[in-house]
Structure formats: C-alpha cells, structure tokens
C-alpha cells in the first residue's frame, strides 16, 4: 500500500517535471526562435546558441562539402519513450544502484536513473542513454540507406538491412523482461549490406553481452570468400566498412560504458529534428532540411580510458526527454576538431498502439578529410520484425 502510494507520488512528480520541461522549452524557444521561422545563412546568428558549433557552418556554406542548408522551426512536439517502457522505469528504477566501479546493480529494464542527480550525474545520464528505449526488436527491411561522399568525389549509395533483437530489458514484446538467453546477451544485431557491390552480401553479427565488462563479439560473413570470419571487436574506433563511422560512433555514441570517463559540462537548449516529417529522401546531403524543434539537453564530455584511443574528447548532447544523443562532436588526440555526428528522430506507432521515438537519420562527417556518410532509415519494422534468436548464431550467417 505504502509502495503504491510512493509510486503514485513519483508518477505525479514525473508528469510535473515533464510539463515543467516543456514550458521551459517553449519559453526558451520564444527567446531565440519562433515556430514558423525559416533559418538560413542570412539569419544564422539567431540560432548560434542552439546548435553544436560545427553545425552552424552547414547553414552558412555547407562546409564547402555540400550546399548550405535551411530549415523551418516548428513548435516542440513530445517524443518520450512508450508508456510500457516508462512503466518499467517506474517499476525498476528504484532498485538500481551505481557501483563505485561504474557498473550498475539491480538493473532490469527501463531507464535506470529517470531523474539523474549528482554525484556521478554524467555517468548516470550516459547509462540512461545506454539503456534508452529503442524497441525490443527492429529491422529495416532493405530500408537502411548508407550514402557518402569524400570531398570532391561522387556520392556513393548503399543499402543495408539491420536486424536487432533485445534479449534483456524487454518491455513490450513477450517474453518480458528477458528472452531465453543462453549466450547471456543484452542484444544481438546483424548488419547486412545490400549495396554498393563491394559490400553486397556482407553480413556482420554483433553480440553485446549483458555483462558490461565483457567485450562484444563480432563475426562477418564475407561473400567473396564464402566464409564467416571472426572479427576483432575490441577496436571499436576503427572505421566500419570504409565509412566515416566507427562502431563507437553509431547513434552519436555507442561505446562500451566502462571504457570511458564522463563529465557533465552543462545543459543546453538545441534545435533538432525530433519528428522527421519525411523518410522518403534521396540522401544526397548529410544534413536533413526538415522541421527543427527545441529540446533541452545535457552536454557531456566523454574521454576514453585507453591512451591508444584516437579521440581526445567527444562531446555529446543528450536529449533530456528520452536520453537519445542528438549531436556529437569529437576532437583527435592533437586537439584538432575531427568529427561531427548529427542525428534525427521520428515518432513511430508500435503494434501495441503505443508510440516511441526512433533514431532515423545520422550524419557522420570527418572534417579532417571532408568525407561524410549519411545513414537514413527509409523503412522500419519496430517490435514486429518477427526475428528469432536463431538468426543470431554465427553459423547461421551466409548461404
């Protein structure tokens, strides 16, 4: 009874905080931009505090890589995780503890720290990002477009498919919260290239273990060799398939939690594509000129504990509403600005009737070489992919 009351109070508090956040957002928006504003190189100064520094040059001159972008500002639209995920957060968050070594104790599902506070606020926020909602399973049936261009070169077009299955922390699709899990995985994923020809047929399988201290395991089926090869999975800062993206770059930051240090730099309101209106894009430009809306973010600096890691620091902007990384900027060991990652999102309806946010666009630009890659999702099956654990066995790759 007492517990129930406690939960009820917590829910009311959460709603109140959410409303307050929205009001703050809107009032902030009023201060800088208004819904309906069109931002372009003429009025870029108006938004200079609302983007990571590297993004602004995309508005002024496209970094000399592509044409400058312009976009419309719209009123903020909510894009929180689905209700069932929030219910799981409410159910389990109270039992989660952050251990001195940075690991979590008692995590089952949902966001581990819905209201992150000091001490160690930065790592708590990043754990929230790590366990952000992204569905119990998803696939992009032939709808994951990977385009890119090096400075002065021609655009290359690629298509891929991704199959993702969450084994633990499941909140919508039965069995919940965990699938039969002999490998003790948190999730497994396959990346299946459909084009360009040089990558076609290559399938990479990734195992992310539930134990955060265990390194991932990876295999790749190489059609030209007709073999499944074991990959070196610890080198997560290596380029993936000749693109500017590394394994740690996906989603803005996808590093192994315990291999990095985190520092909260501050909070910032940013403009971002939170509900992308159109997925049917050509992908000839890394930056999507869609509707931008204001969001409150935490700004966190991430640095690797490994002295060999090529980045000096990575700065991420984490959406307070759902803990997705919206933007990321990184500097190399010498302190030279290196990469910018800009994500876009869309709200999808789930088979359960709930709605949830999904990362549908990602531009990763290597500013040192002037090379960009854009990952754009054109088709998505969320929580209804029908994919089974057997598809994630290394011996199942290939023909």
């Amino acid at each position: 009874m007492r517990h129930k009351r406690k939960m009820c109070v917590r829910r009311v508090l959460l709603i109140a905080i959410g409303m307050l956040a929205m009001i703050t957002m809107v009032s902030g928006a009023c201060a800088a931009v208004q819904p309906g504003d069109v931002i372009n190189k003429q009025n870029v100064d108006k938004v200079k505090e609302l983007f990571p520094p590297s993004f602004l040059r995309w508005i002024t001159d496209g970094w000399g890589l592509e044409g400058p972008v312009s976009f419309k500002v719209v009123a903020p639209t909510p894009n929180p995780p689905p209700k069932s995920y929030q219910d799981a957060t409410n159910k389990y968050a109270g039992q989660v503890q952050l251990l001195p070594n940075g690991q979590l104790k008692g995590y089952v599902a949902g966001i581990p720290f819905p209201n992150p506070q000091e001490p160690n606020k930065a790592i708590k926020i990043m754990w929230n990002n790590y366990y952000r909602w992204r569905g119990d399973d998803f696939t992009y049936p032939g709808g994951f477009m990977v385009n890119g261009r090096r400075k002065g070169g021609q655009i290359s077009y690629g298509l891929a498919d991704i199959h993702f299955l969450r084994f633990t922390g499941r909140t919508q699709v039965s069995p919940k919260p965990e699938l039969p899990n002999p490998h003790k995985l948190e999730w497994a994923m396959t990346l299946d290239s459909l084009s360009p020809p040089e990558w076609k047929g290559m399938v990479t399988l990734v195992y992310r273990y539930a134990d955060p201290t265990k390194p991932d395991d990876m295999w790749s089926y190489i059609p030209s060799m007709r073999r499944t090869l074991r990959l070196v999975s610890r080198e997560r800062s290596n380029p993936v398939r000749g693109t500017t993206s590394t394994w740690d770059d996906y989603y803005g930051f996808d590093g192994k939690m315990l291999e990095f240090n985190y520092k909260l730099v501050g909070e910032q309101q940013v403009l971002a594509v939170i509900n992308q209106s159109n997925l049917d894009i050509k992908g000839n430009h890394p930056i999507i000129s869609d509707n931008y809306e204001l969001r409150d973010t935490y700004v966190i600096d991430i640095s690797s504990k490994d002295p060999r890691y090529p980045e000096k620091v990575r700065r991420v902007w984490v959406n307070k509403e759902n803990f997705f990384v919206i933007y990321s900027e990184s500097w190399d060991k010498s302190g030279q600005f290196w990469k910018g990652i800009y994500n876009t999102f869309k709200r999808f309806e789930l088979p359960s009737g709930e709605h949830g946010p999904f990362n549908v666009g990602n531009a990763t630009i290597d500013y040192k070489t002037g090379t960009w890659v854009g990952n754009f999702i054109k088709r998505l099956k969320l929580n209804r992919s029908g994919i089974k654990p057997a598809a994630f066995e290394p011996s199942n790759l290939g023909e």
């Binding site: 290359s156 002999p182 007709r226 990959l231 070196v232 000749g242 500017t244 090379t371 089974k388």
Partner: protein
C-alpha cells in the same frame, strides 16, 4: 579416358595421337566464336548497368540480380625460356558471372549463378596438339534451393559451394569442394578455384545449446569435365621446338611438367638395371632401363605402359560417395566445433598395376629381330583413393586480436612411393595437418587515419606420421616431406576510406620456397564504387624447380585485375 591415347614411344617422350589436331583447329574456331559472344554480352551488360545506380538492381520484390565482369591481364616478369618468343603475356582471362537470388515462397529461396570465362590462345600453347581451350567455359556454376521450414533450420539442395575451415590461405579444413587446378594461381582467390558440387545440405541451429549441426551428402555427380588435376588428365606430351630446344608446354598456372624432362629427373639419369624409378614424369618412366656399360642416354624398354584414368565416376558405392557433418558451438566467446568428411583424394595417386600381354618390339624394328625384344604391357592406374577426414577448429577474439586454429587428421592416407618393395607404388600413412593463425586489426594513424591496418599471420603444418622415406608427389619424383611448414604474413591498409588499398603478402615454406605479393588497389567513386583495379606483383622463389612454390618460380608476373560489379 587416356587408355589407348599413347600411340608412340621413344626416348622418354610420348606423343598424343595426331587425330586430335583436327579437334584442336575446330575448337579454335569455336573458341573465337565464344569470345565474340562473351564480348558482345559483356558490352551490352555494361551499357545497361551503367544507366542504373547499383542499389536499384533488385529487379522485383524478393529477386536480386548481381554479378561481375572481371579481367586479369598479366605479364611474366621472369625469363620464360619455354616460349622463347619474347611474348610475356601470362594471362588474359575474362570473366562474366551472373547471379540471381530469388524468393519463391517465404520459406523457399533459389540461387542461380552462371559463369563464363574466355581466354585467348597463348604463345606458350601455339603448336600444341593438346587442347588448351579448356579454360574457356560457359557454365551454370551454382543452382540450388534453400528451404527454411522453421527458424534456424534450413536445407539446401542443388549445385553449391560449401566452405569450412579457419584458414584464409590454406585448405586445411576447407575440404568439401575440390579445387580446380586451372584457376589455382596466386591472382585467383580460393573461391574461384572451388569446383561446385551437387549436394544436399542441412543446417540446424540448436539455440538452447548455443550450437548448430550441419550435414552434407554429396552423391558425386560432378561432370567428367571437371578434372581435378588436368596434368593427369592430359598427357603433356605435345612438344614445341624452338631454338634447338624441345619443350613441352604445360598448364600455365599448373606446375611445370616440362621441367621434369631436365636432369636429374630425365631418363638419362643412370639407374641400376631393374630399378624401379617409380611412376614419374607423365606417369611412364619405370619401363626404361639403361643398357649396362653404355652411356646413360641409352635405355631400352622393359615394359609398355598403359595408363588408365579412374576418376570417381558416380558409381554410388560407399567409396565414391562424399558425405559428412560439422558442429559449431559458441560459448564464452569461443567458437569451436568438430567435423568429419568422407571423400576421395582430389589429387590422384598412380598405382602400378599388373603386367599383361606382350609386345614384340624387335619385330617392329626389323622382322629379323622378331622374338628378341618382347616386353609386356604394364597397367598404371590414376586413382583417387578414398579418404576420411576428421577435424576440429576453434577461434576466439582475444585482447590482442583473433586467434584461429584448426586441425585435420586423415588416417591411412594413400601416398605414392619409390620404394621398390612396394610393387603397387602405393603406401598408407596417417596424415596430420594443422593451422595456427592470428589476426590483428588496428589503426596506425601516422600511416592512415581512414583505414585499418589488417595483419594476418598463418602457420600451416603438414605432418606424415610414420616412415616417410621414398614418398613422392604422385607422378613426379619430388619427395614428400615428413613434416612441412609454411608461413603466411599478410599486411595491408586503406587510405581515403578504402579508396586506395595497399598490401603485401609473404608466403614462405621451410624448404626455402615461397612468394612475395605486393599489391595496390584502387576503387574510384564512379559508378557507385562498382569498379576496382588491383595491380599485383607475384614474385615466386624456390631453391629448385621441383618443390613447393619452386614449381612456379619462372612464373613471376605482374597482374592487373579490373572488375566491374553490380
């Protein structure tokens, strides 16, 4: 197949029947026609493909159309004294491969792969009575149905290629498909050398046990044209004369049969009367015996060889079947398994058979000599003995890279021997082959910030258990080593996000032979990165012409491989 084709014998050489010359001319015309057809097809295809971005090649929902056009142009860099023509063209191989993947039903898929290969006649082959047009083919390479009745359960029926094993460069556990000797040289990848087989194959995932089981049944319907080792299928007896020398042309990227005619492996080698020389070059030397007290060059026949070629011919007996299975388990980051494969040796041995009948050679020379020089026929059988292969493999991603290992054990494998105590010239020995490999993938940013450094190290050992004295490579006098060790070191990196790739591969055998293969590859942005150009030098070294890579040591070359894929 070869029986009856050896018509004339003399001075250690045999010749192919003259009737084949007619066939050769006819095949030449066919070859030219084939070339024109393939050329036109390729050009047409290029025009069509260039007008589409590569990602649009899904012609209909669930159906996918892919393939490539490839050209290998190579020039010998060494002195090709067997041509003496100054023409250094080593290869001008043109490939067209078309692949269709389709989904007939949600649980039923189909794959069809057609392949056409065309090569012109080379200088080395001019004047040969042997048909070297066998490189050219238009073939349905793969044709199979994949049925997936349940998740994690699949069955594949049809002509297919199956690759087992851990090695990137050596065929230790890669034992399913025989190797096509025509395409085995270093610019061809292993995939291109595999001969597809008609098979039924099942793969069953047992997820609760973190394991899978795969089984294969191969009823051996391989067509006769896929001879595993053409050296044995076509006597290299046609001779070419140039500058007063006589040469026997061989398959350009097979081993050098012509060098077998040189000392110390010619019939001019002094031998004790009656000594069994084995079944050496071109299968038929043991019937020569030097005449005592005369020069080593003087020999006389003691037998007339009759060579019989006994390929596994789909007799569907236990011996002629191929079948086996493999397990795969992944626990704690280790992937491991065991396998068994029953098959036949893909490189034949030569059995010295019985004598029968008689030939009055004296009468053939002069009626007055009738009855003075009578020799029997001796049967030599080119055989592919059955072999059972037991193997195991393991791999693990370690902090410093991926470790791979595999081992195969072949109990009572059949070898050729020169031991006169073995009248069949065959003995059985146990054979152990193993691989230890290490892969490193890392970044070395002073060199490249946009490409990984990929390093592969492989150690391949081949060990014959028991007495290995007198064992020789079938058909030749090259001794088989009791233990043999080969090392591979490969390093490469990409620049500008793999627009350029440079690498070098070293292969070294402890018998002091091997190869060095530096290469540079360029993938332009044009046509959606569908084109690639790779320039590779293949430098072969060896302490003699008769062992390991030394067999190819005059075949160092530079090869440009150009490919357009879609």
């Amino acid at each position: 197949m070869i029986e009856g084709s050896v018509k004339k014998l003399g001075n250690g050489k045999s010749t192919i029947c003259k009737e084949r010359r007619g066939c050769f001319v006819k095949r030449e015309k066919t070859k030219r026609r084939t070339g024109i057809v393939w050329g036109a097809l390729s050009l047409g295809l290029l025009i069509v493909l260039f007008s589409f971005p590569a990602y649009a090649m899904e012609v209909a929902e669930g159906w996918d159309f892919t393939g490539f056009i490839r050209n290998n142009t190579g020039l010998f860099t060494g002195n090709q004294d067997f041509t003496n023509s100054g023409n250094q063209l080593a290869t001008e191989r043109n490939w067209l491969r078309l692949k269709v993947d389709g989904q007939i039903l949600p649980s039923l898929g189909v794959r069809l792969v057609g392949q056409g290969i065309f090569e012109p006649e080379y200088k080395i082959e001019e004047g040969s009575t042997v048909d070297f047009g066998e490189y050219n083919e238009a073939d349905l390479r793969e044709a199979y149905l994949t049925w997936k009745p349940l998740d994690g359960q699949k069955m594949i029926v049809g002509r297919q290629i199956v690759t087992w094993g851990e090695s990137l460069a050596f065929r230790v556990g890669d034992v399913i498909n025989p190797q096509d000797g025509r395409f085995a040289f270093s610019f061809a990848n292993l995939e291109d050398t595999r001969i597809p087989q008609w098979m039924v194959r099942g793969v069953h995932q047992i997820t609760s046990a973190r394991s899978s089981f795969e089984w294969i049944f191969n009823p051996l319907l391989t067509e006769a044209k896929y001879r595993v080792d053409p050296i044995f299928a076509e006597p290299t007896s046609a001779t070419v004369s140039a500058d007063g020398k006589t040469f026997t042309p061989g398959w350009r990227f097979a081993i050098y049969p012509e060098t077998r005619l040189r000392q110390p492996y010619t019939t001019t080698t002094p031998l004790a009367p009656g000594q069994l020389l084995g079944v050496p070059f071109a299968r038929s030397v043991s019937y020569y015996t030097p005449i005592p007290f005369l020069t080593p060059a003087d020999n006389y026949f003691t037998e007339i060889p009759v060579v019989r070629y006994k390929h596994p011919d789909g007799g569907h007996t236990f011996k002629d079947l191929r079948f086996g299975g493999r397990t795969s388990t992944t626990i704690g980051g280790y992937q491991f398994g065991a396998f068994y494969w029953h098959t036949q040796e893909y490189t034949p041995v030569i059995e010295r058979g019985k004598t029968y009948g008689s030939n009055d050679l004296g009468a053939a020379i002069n009626p007055l000599l009738a009855g003075l020089w009578v020799v029997p026929n001796r049967e030599y059988i080119i055989r592919y003995p059955e072999v059972n292969i037991l193997g195991a493999y393991i791999n693990k991603d370690m902090p410093l890279g991926v470790l791979r290992s595999e081992v195969t054990y072949r109990p009572r494998r059949t070898y050729n021997t020169l031991d006169p105590a073995e009248p069949s010239a065959l003995v059985k020995r146990d054979n152990l082959q193993y691989l230890l490999a290490w892969d490193i993938q890392t970044m070395f940013r002073p060199l490249s910030e946009t490409g990984t450094i990929d390093i592969n190290l492989e150690y391949y050992g081949n060990w014959i258990i028991g007495n290995a004295k007198y064992l020789n490579v079938a058909g030749y006098l090259t001794p088989v080593r009791k233990d043999d060790h080969t090392f591979l070191f490969n390093i490469g990196t990409g620049f500008d996000y793999d627009k350029y790739h440079v690498g070098v591969t070293f292969i070294h055998n402890v018998q002091n032979n091997g190869a060095v293969m530096p290469s540079v590859k360029y993938v332009p942005d044009a046509f959606n990165k569908a084109c690639s150009f790779e320039l590779k030098y293949i430098g072969v070294y060896g302490r003699n012409d008769f062992e390991g890579m030394g067999l190819f040591r005059q075949k160092s070359m530079v090869v440009l491989t150009s490919q357009f894929s879609w």
